[in-house]
């Protein structure tokens, strides 16, 4: 079973909830926020092994190329230009779709590979801890996410999503059986959470909500959930103590109050179905 944790707005506590629940539930932790993966800071996995993420890009055989321009015309990403003397390849624009090879009548197109990111996996207190890391300066996170999720560890996994509702998130939740939305009780938190709700509903993925930075006098999110028949799974209290623990990469469950709150959430996870 794959439980996806998403948020809409960034910085609401997706990673905090993901890492603490992973350890409590014994689920493997998969960091899919490949642009800014932070889960390892808290779980500190050991025996980390890695592999590169590589994608294809075309190489044109000058001896065979007839400069017919078909490849440049076929490339809808404008990664190819045919001049009077050669075909120029702009590999960062290439999506590795293979269209250029399909149209080349001279068999001049072959593919080489370049690195766009990395997958790393280790162990932390009995669970597998895995992440994808997109290289700085690369545009596309999706190839990293797809490779990361194509071979998931056995058993139950928590997928820590990127923020927002972009293609990176869409590609992550394609692997989700259930989902948790982590939000904060602010106008921004609510606004962006609604986008996440719409995304999950459009994919028929059952989900519940966790309110982070909760304080008793603010029921903004609780009221919204009640009105929209959304299952509230739990709350994580706001305190400066929690913010300080987070800042040093400590697990919140090391603090007694938070241990209780996360245990309550862990017990109710089964209600998301």
């Amino acid at each position: 079973m794959n439980l996806c944790v998403l948020s809409g707005k960034g910085g609401t506590g997706k990673t905090t909830v993901s890492v603490n629940l992973s350890l409590l539930l014994g689920y493997n932790y998969i960091d899919c926020d490949v642009e800014e993966p932070n889960g390892f800071i808290f779980l500190k996995p050991e025996n980390v092994m890695g592999e590169d993420v590589r994608i294809d890009y075309p190489v044109i055989d000058k001896a065979k190329c007839t400069l017919c321009r078909k490849c440049a015309e076929a490339c809808l990403f404008n990664a190819l230009v045919t001049t009077k003397s050669s075909v120029m390849v702009f590999e960062k624009l290439c999506h590795a779709c293979g269209a250029c090879a399909v149209v080349c009548g001279a068999d001049a197109v072959s593919y080489a590979q370049r690195k766009v990111g990395r997958i790393e996996q280790g162990i932390s207190r009995g669970i597998a801890v895995k992440r994808g890391v997109q290289d700085v300066g690369e545009y596309m996170g999706v190839p990293v996410i797809r490779q990361l999720l194509s071979r998931l560890p056995e058993g139950n996994n928590i997928l820590d999503c990127p923020p927002g509702t972009s293609c990176n998130v869409v590609n992550t939740i394609a692997f989700a059986d259930r989902a948790l939305i982590v939000t904060e009780p602010t106008a921004f938190g609510l606004h962006d959470m609604e986008l996440a709700v719409r995304l999950l509903r459009s994919r028929n993925i059952p989900f519940g909500v966790v309110v982070n930075k909760h304080s008793a006098d603010n029921t903004l999110i609780q009221d919204y959930c009640k009105e929209n028949r959304i299952r509230l799974i739990g709350t994580v209290s706001y305190s400066k103590e929690a913010a300080v623990a987070y800042s040093t990469g400590r697990m919140l469950t090391e603090l007694p109050l938070y241990k209780k709150e996360f245990e309550a959430i862990a017990l109710k996870i089964g209600e998301v179905r």
């Binding site: 404008n78 990664a79 001049t83 009077k84 120029m88 624009l93």
Partner: protein
């Protein structure tokens, strides 16, 4: 020789468009025949690589020089590779830009402007 000019419209009175990849039209001026042709910039709405696609249109139009405001590094690489000279022109209409060119008052661009490389990158 033919000259390509990035333009905001399809008349000789139109203002030069300082953007190369995403300009509205290209004026192709034939200095020998004294003729002007207007082509729509098909790259304008490209998801990504508009400069590269616009550069391909310049090559296909067989121009020897381009007059524009700014050009990103990818398009500039193509121009260099294809042996097309690039001239910079500030606020002017097309007629004036051509006059400035024939009076040799335009400066050659010898390095690319700020990187817009891959801007857009539709798909992600």
């Amino acid at each position: 020789m033919k000259i390509g000019i990035s333009s905001t419209g399809n008349t000789m009175e139109s203002a030069l468009d300082p953007r190369f990849g995403r300009c509205a039209y290209f004026v192709i001026h034939d200095t020998d025949a004294g003729r002007n042709e207007f082509i729509e910039n098909a790259a304008r709405s490209a998801s990504g690589g508009a400069g590269i696609a616009a550069a391909q249109q310049m090559i296909d139009s067989d121009v020897g020089a381009v007059i524009t405001g700014n050009m990103g590094p990818n398009a500039f690489d193509v121009m260099k590779n294809a042996g097309i000279k690039v001239y910079r022109c500030a606020d002017a209409d097309i007629e004036t830009a051509l006059k400035l060119y024939s009076d040799q008052k335009l400066a050659l661009i010898d390095s690319a402007g700020p990187a817009h490389a891959g801007m857009g990158q539709g798909g992600h």
